[in-house]
């Protein structure tokens, strides 16, 4: 039985979290069929063979250039039937997760999202999910033959196991009802490291005093090839765009390294960063609660420490 993987792209490039989904599917065993929508670079699609895809389907219909939840779900439901796939794997995202939900109903599959690791198949099929905003995990058994799995970042290691494959065009018919939602326009940061994808995140809080001081954080982020994030008050005050807001009510990140500057470490902020592998905290208050959640800490003034740290990073490269 085949495993279908829905891969997402940004600016024509396959997202890293989607490459993880392909690797996850490969590790599950069974032939991996990948499907991508809209405009994607062909070389990027071919390269998915290296991560274990045996077949790459491309539904290039321009109606699918933008992510319409219903339309994507319908095509994925049909592709599962066409490819005889019992399992669909997607990466958790603002698009992938709701799409996965709709597909699960269409094909009558058991559904689990926010999955953090490969399943335990010693008895049945048990996945581990992150719950309570990263404060705990749940083990969930999926009983049926059909399964839809949405993965949290880092659920699988990226490994090259094969070589590039050819791309098979996949023609679709998108019905009128599936296009009930019209996307009229969009605004998207280009050429930046996307926050949910980033290996390193440099994040600033109210301690940064104002938006005019962000270039200092951005310098550090640039030196580290990192994405920038912020605390909720920072986006509430409009210092930074909402999509950079990290925490309980914002983006949950899971980078290798999270550097928090001038953020106190309120529990709601920690809920968005507790899946980070390493946390560095820079705060002028030695009693800031964030230090308790940190691996490395510096008590100091951000405006003094940041430029020095950026210099030291540049020197170390």
């Amino acid at each position: 039985m085949a495993i279908l993987v829905f891969v997402e792209s940004a600016e024509g490039k396959i997202k890293k979290t989607s490459v993880e989904a392909v690797c996850y599917a490969h590790a599950l065993g069974g032939p991996v069929v990948v499907i991508a929508f809209g405009h994607v670079d062909q070389s990027e699609l071919e390269a998915l063979g290296k991560y274990g895809a045996e077949k790459v389907l491309h539904a290039a219909d321009e109606k699918l250039n933008k992510g319409i939840i219903q339309a994507y779900a319908s095509v994925l439901g049909k592709a599962m039937k066409d490819e005889n796939a019992d399992v669909l794997v997607v990466a958790n995202s603002s698009l992938g997760t709701p799409v996965a939900a709709r597909v699960a109903i269409k094909v009558g599959a058991g559904l689990a999202s926010n999955i953090v690791s490969l399943p335990d198949t010693t008895s049945g099929f048990v996945v581990k999910r992150s719950i309570y905003s990263g404060k705990a995990f749940a083990y969930v058994e999926l009983k049926g033959q059909k399964k839809v799995l949405a993965l949290k970042k880092n659920a699988a290691d990226i490994k090259e196991v094969g070589k590039a494959v050819g791309v098979t065009p996949y023609s679709v018919e998108v019905s009128h009802t599936d296009l009930a939602v019209t996307i009229t326009s969009s605004e998207q940061a280009t050429g930046e490291v996307l926050l949910p994808e980033a290996n390193i995140v440099v994040s600033g809080g109210r301690g940064m005093k104002g938006p005019e001081h962000w270039p200092m954080l951005e310098e550090l982020a640039k030196a580290l090839h990192a994405a920038t994030g912020c605390s909720k008050p920072v986006s509430d005050m409009g210092w930074r765009p909402h999509h950079e807001h990290v925490g309980q009510t914002g983006i949950k990140v899971a980078p290798q390294l999270y550097i928090a500057v001038g953020i106190s470490g309120a529990i709601q902020h920690l809920a968005g960063v507790n899946s980070s592998k390493y946390i560095v905290v820079i705060n002028k208050d030695a009693d800031a609660p964030f230090f308790k959640a940190a691996d490395y800490g510096i008590v100091g003034d951000a405006f003094d420490v940041l430029p020095k740290l950026t210099e030291a990073i540049k020197r170390a490269k």
């Binding site: 048990v126 705990a136 749940a138 009229t184 509430d236």
Partner: protein, 245 residues
């Protein structure tokens, strides 16, 4: 115009999480329960629409009777009527099936909920309900304006925003800044006591998913402090110890 707002009943965001019965039950000792923060945004927007255009707002929770104070709070914030489906919310498919059944019977123009619950963090109930009812679903919605039966929405995408339009009825998973959280006032609290709170029986639904046990993450090791005038040491540790550079 009838709006249904789905409310989860979840531990306060500052709660310490622990489990009992061999890690199979959530330990409610000392835990305060609240309206899910995202659901609270959905509710706040629904109340704004009610104030602006005279909609009727119903709130719905799938839960046992301990969730009634949470539903009363939603009534105090301004909802007109509460519905509780009397069942343990065991999994997303079960919850979505209950919401879909209530929504079908009630003939709502708009079904609002949170982008995700903060206990199970699934982020799927809006999609499930949309598909069960063959309605469009949009999430995460950060702006929702109505122009007659046409809705204009903004949805967050990774690294940006998308603007979209759709006709009523549809399902939306909401998040900030769709509206500001509302705090109940005295008059709201008083009137909430006499507003209807209906209890209905669940429909049967099995998504084939079963939670077997919980687990807490391993405790965090001690923080290593580095002097502010020695950032080179930090870079060194990140390189050689953490190996993240």
């Amino acid at each position: 115009m009838k709006i249904l707002v789905c409310i989860s009943h979840v531990p306060d965001t500052t709660s310490r999480i622990s489990f009992t019965d061999n890690n199979t039950k959530f330990d409610t000792t000392g835990v305060q329960f609240i309206i899910g923060p995202y659901d609270d945004y959905a509710l706040a927007r629904a109340i704004e629409l009610k104030e602006g255009s005279g909609a009727t707002v119903h709130v719905l929770n799938v839960g046992l009777n301990d969730t009634e104070p949470t539903l009363r709070k939603a009534l105090a914030i301004g909802a007109d009527e509460a519905i509780r489906v009397n069942a343990e919310p065991t999994d997303s498919f079960f919850v979505a099936s209950q919401i879909a059944a209530v929504a079908k019977a009630g003939g709502y123009d708009l079904i609002l909920m949170g982008r995700e619950s903060i206990d199970y963090n699934s982020g799927v109930v809006h999609g499930l309900v949309g598909e069960l009812l063959s309605l469009p679903s949009v999430s995460p919605v950060m702006k929702l304006d109505l122009d007659g039966r046409r809705a204009k929405l903004a949805r967050e995408i990774e690294g940006g925003k998308e603007y979209l339009e759709v006709d009523l009825p549809f399902v939306a998973g909401c998040q900030e800044p769709i509206a500001e959280w509302k705090i109940p006032n005295m008059r709201g609290i008083m009137s909430a006591r006499t507003k209807p709170l209906k209890v209905v029986d669940p429909v049967s639904a099995d998504g084939g998913v079963k939670l077997t046990r919980f687990e807490l993450p391993p405790p965090k090791g001690a923080v290593k402090m580095i002097a502010a005038d020695n950032v080179g040491e930090l870079v060194n540790l990140l390189k050689t110890e953490a190996k993240v550079l």
